[in-house]
Amino acid sequence: MSKDLVFALAGNPNCGKTSLFNDLTGAKQHVGNWPGVTVEKKEGKMTAEGRNITVVDLPGTYSLGAYSEDEVVARDFILKENPDVVVNVIDASNVERNLYLTTQILETGVKVVLALNMMDEAQNKNIKIEVEKLSKLLNIPVVPTTAVKGEGIKELVIAAINLGEKHEENRVHKYKIDYGTEVAKHVEKIENSFKNNNIKLEYPTSWTAIKLLENDEFIKKYIHEKENTANVEAELKKSNDLLLESIGYDVDAFIVDKRYEFIGSVVKQSVKRSSESNKRTLSDKIDSIVTNKWLGIPIFAVIMFVMYQITMTIGNGILTDLVGRFFDFLGGWVGNNLAYLGAPNLVQSFFVDALIGGVGSVLGFTPMIIIMYLLISILEDSGYMARAAYVMDRLMNAIGLHGKTAVSLIIGTGCNVAGVMSARTLESKKDRMVAILISPFMSCTARLAIYALFVSAFFSNTKIGPFNAGGIIVFGLYVLGILVAIIMGKFFSSTVFKGEDSYFIMELPPYRVPTVKGTLIHMWEKAGAFVKKAGTIILASIIVIWVLSNLPFGVAPGSKDSIVGMIGAAIAPLFILAGFGTWQAGIALITGFVAKEAVVGTMATIYGVEEGSKLITAIHGAFTPLSALSFMVFTLLYVPCVATIGAIKRETNSGKWAFITVVYTCVVAWITSVLVFQIGKIIGFN
């Protein structure tokens, strides 16, 4: 009867796999992480023809080699989790390149259905594909689809279900690509070597043998780490040498060539292009402007600036205001009702300040995040982000970084958590690590709230030349953050991660108009992940801070005698040299570790005043202009909020790096703020 099926979607990046996944699973998707690696795992559910189907969206890869974690994840899923069917999504206007992955998937022996996607674009380019012929040549079902328009999906699902439920023996042997008699001979020798040495493999033997000859790093290591494989390795070396002699060049290159030969013949027989398709496309024309030597970076700067402005005015300005007012109202209403019911002050405070206040500050932040992710999704889905990375690469290279790192840092100025999460798009581990480690120095919007407070307290009426001092100082802080990020980036690339390779190879997909559905799902996924992860940590931390400021029992909230006050007083001496060695500053910094946007509220609580002009007056008593400046510098550079640390831990898959980040950012911050204060004193500024 009909059982539950598992479909895996595999294909090159940019072939519309994600659109197809969205079409099949709609809102019933779940995004997580593959265990042990920093690769996104997307899974969803659907029902069709009475079957329950789990759809797993494998990472987009160009092959099933061992070059990146993505490829290993995709490969291991196919070989070890045994999905019923792999739906291989290929871009119909680029069949030749896409089929490379197909040959690799076929060689694993799994059941495959080919989704010939983006048929509309192929038609526009006058590319005609003989679907029947292609299907026969590859020996698998082929279904033309246009995922963004929803065409062909039903037929695809039916074909996949039929294939999934068919019982087939010996699939691996059906898809042997002809690598020539020499290679075939040695494949057999290696297979025999496995048998003779009693080696049990988790993968099909002929597949493993071919991978060994192909010099697959992962499989080589896998064999090396097994017991009793010395003979196999000796046999492999012998084969490699003999093959090098008989072929004339390395067998791994030869195997790749043979695959392309097979693909070439398949394509020749089934794909017809007219000469028109070699014309300069619209994408090329746009690119000649967007990636122009002189216009590229200015265009990028303008787009980033516009994105920032929209996020700030609509997100941070209008919507955050609305959310803020709602929560103020809610807090007041709950507070009044609790008071009316005679609840003790402490309970009232817990509900109003900790719970409602906490949730309010998280949700207050959310509109900005949603808008930012909406704009980022549009830029990514349209294909512009790839151009941005390309354009910035030249500049970033001069400081030892990647073009894509620039994009991730810019996202970090909205929120460090988002910046850290976006480092996933960087391919090499080194680039990812460096981007993650320097992102805390990008001044985020939460810190802006802190600057706003101190700037209005001390600098709103001074001018530097014709400019308002406050504006210059805030701008200067952003610049300082960027400078420190660059310096640390260079430091990390040339010391800790020295020698690890940083390769830049990236596809420029054709420009596409993003679909509303696709963009919204994309944005929802990212914003949702953010709110869930950051939101829970921030809320929990705000509650903890609340508890600490209200213990021991009966103490005035946030005062010197509360636990948080005592901690603040304990660390205060550390900051004497930096000019703000007070317990109040200590508490503010501790709160800032939790969530930077909570600092202003906490300070209001400590001084027992409302936010606004009363708080400003209170601050005047504890800070001077110079110490305010060094305090802001410290806030800019020291440990990012707990949510960011959490993200760092997740993205690097190690608590060690998260801990290192905490320590080193504090060190850098301390040194810099002390310098600022001491130098300021020396030049007589106070």
Binding site: G65, R97, Y100, N215, D252, V256, K293, G403
Partner: protein, 77 residues
């Protein structure tokens, strides 16, 4: 005319190059081959300014860092 084998970054914009080999032997070389820079493939140089190159491989436009482009040996077509 005898065309010599040169690294990809020596080609000017608009020329077609036939790939001969990818030198170096590191894993990245195989990756390059798998992305279309295999022996005999014909690619078009779209962009070759300071910084990474843009190369058309089949229907795909690939951005290739200079270090990587240097490993790809080709002959002008």
């Amino acid at each position: 005319m005898d065309n010599i084998c040169m690294p990809l970054n020596a080609f000017s914009v608009g020329t077609l190059a036939k790939i001969d080999s990818v030198v170096g032997g590191e894993a990245i070389c195989k990756k390059l081959m798998e992305m279309g820079f295999n022996k005999g493939a014909i690619v078009e140089i779209i962009n070759n300014q300071v910084g990474p190159m843009v190369i058309k491989v089949g229907e795909t436009r690939l951005v290739l860092g200079r270090g990587m482009a240097q490993k790809v040996m080709a002959i002008e077509v």
